[in-house]
Symmetry: C2
Subunit: 292 residues, 2 copies
């Protein structure tokens, strides 16, 4: 049996790396083989699942340095039938890939804006005069690298291997503790195979809008969680896109959706929120450095 | 007398447009003439003020569709001597600038990632097959547009005028109520000239980290504001960059820093926060459509 998994492409992106890890985990656990399907954007990866083109998607949610991936959150709110099955936490180590023989030859560095931002201090120190050009993914510029010794690209060492390109500098991220959290997402509820089915979920993610912009409007939903002893591991605001100053709140909670506290919280929450969307309950699978 | 104002360049960006509006307001009010200084990034605009290269900077804070400008928040936290003097709210109307005679000739569209995201649905409907290329600013690609009829760029109609380029489609943003909030920022406290000095500030902005990741850690600071009847007009989390799951919170409050409630809130807040940074108190100046 096989299962199709959408991710941000082209091959060699960190999203593909996370998808490969997930596919390896899945085949070991269940014998189900994952078939990777690259898409040109994160939104299109999620739309692929919603429209039934693929069965799962692996999408980045937040990075420990650069924060939330807003496209993932906005698309999840829009396509509200999607459900999170599993979270993956992957360490990120950036490399500078280039055919140049030394750093002083490089005039231009290409990469995804998140990767450029995560190597900002290194770039300022070692390549202060180069032009930084944002791209749609870390691997997109790699196909143009071979014929030009004045350019470099920031991507993973795995991407350098895949495209058969030399690494000029290793571990160039400003913070060594750089990691990205991904979600494995399906359309609606799916069979337990695709998740850690033996233990009950440790996290629940949801989003809500508040009924009015008055003092304490956000406080009430947060009070519900605090009074029931539920820890928020993340809260993130996003614009409703209706007018400036109106927000949605995305929260990750350290509890199972079907726990007694959470059931009680959801009942109370419906009173203090305008729209409430629950994206699912799931476990977190850390990806160790030697596996990637 | 003159005053230097840093902003994201090259000329023709929305940040420059906001800076021009501010300079016009300032000269009318005080006779002080603003000299605009374009910088290649938002971070460099703010660093210019911190290092004394310019006296002020005008930087985007959030857009009603795409949300927070994280680079502004991260740089303000880092350079904590900067103070907000004024907020500007500017309506945003994107145009497609191109030398092509019709949409079907266009193969590639360049713009800043925020602008591309704000026109996502329009692009999917009218240019579903074009390649979208992110750039460092909306105006950066305009200098290469003249000789190629297969490319387009998304920027303001003012940018088209400045670069003497034709507009192929007007008002292409997905949401008509698109606007961006900017902050006018100085190094430390400055004389009242640069702000709306006749009325007391309507907003105070601050950021804090919480002492421990336990249920209710964020609730306590929010309770302080709610109990004193202070409305939060925005709350935004950013990673501390120490480890995944540790956050700073940026809040905008609808009160003057020196109000009785706010003084009381600040005293209470110091108990429930780890690091607390106050970015200043200021008024909001709306920019009407016919002025830009």
């Amino acid at each position: 049996m096989t299962i199709s998994i959408a991710h941000l492409g082209p091959p060699g992106t960190y999203a593909e790396q996370a998808a490969v890890f997930y596919a390896n985990w899945l085949v070991k656990k269940t014998g189900i083989e994952g078939i990777l399907c690259p898409y040109p954007s994160i939104a299109q990866s999620l739309q692929a699942v919603a429209s039934g083109q693929t069965q799962l998607a692996v999408v980045p949610v937040e990075n420990s340095i650069e924060g939330s991936v807003t496209m993932t959150m906005d698309t999840l709110w829009q396509l509200d039938s999607l459900r999170i099955q599993l979270a993956l936490v992957m360490p990120i180590a950036h490399t500078l890939i280039s055919c140049a023989t030394s750093l002083d030859k490089i005039k231009t560095v290409y990469s995804h804006p998140q990767a450029l931002a995560q190597c900002q201090q290194w770039l300022e120190m070692f390549l202060p005069t180069v032009q930084l050009i944002p791209t749609n993914s870390t691997t997109e510029p790699l196909q143009h690298l071979e014929n030009d010794i004045t350019v470099g690209a920031i991507a993973s060492s795995r991407a350098a291997q895949l495209y058969n390109l030399p690494i000029l500098a290793n571990g160039i991220n400003d913070y060594p503790e750089n990691c990205t959290r991904f979600w494995v997402v399906s359309e609606g509820e799916v069979e337990a195979n695709y998740r850690m089915s033996s233990i009950s979920p440790s996290h629940t993610s949801l989003a809500f809008s508040t009924p009015a912009n008055v003092p304490g409007a956000l406080l009430k939903p947060l009070q519900v969680f605090a009074q029931l002893g539920i820890n928020l591991s993340r809260i993130e605001s996003r614009p409703t896109k209706r007018s400036l100053g109106e927000y949605l709140f995305f929260v990750d909670l350290e509890t199972d959706r079907s726990s007694v506290q959470m059931k009680s919280a959801l009942a109370d929450l419906s009173i203090h929120t305008e729209i409430l969307k629950i994206f699912g309950a799931y476990n977190v699978l850390p990806i160790s450095k030697d596996l990637i």
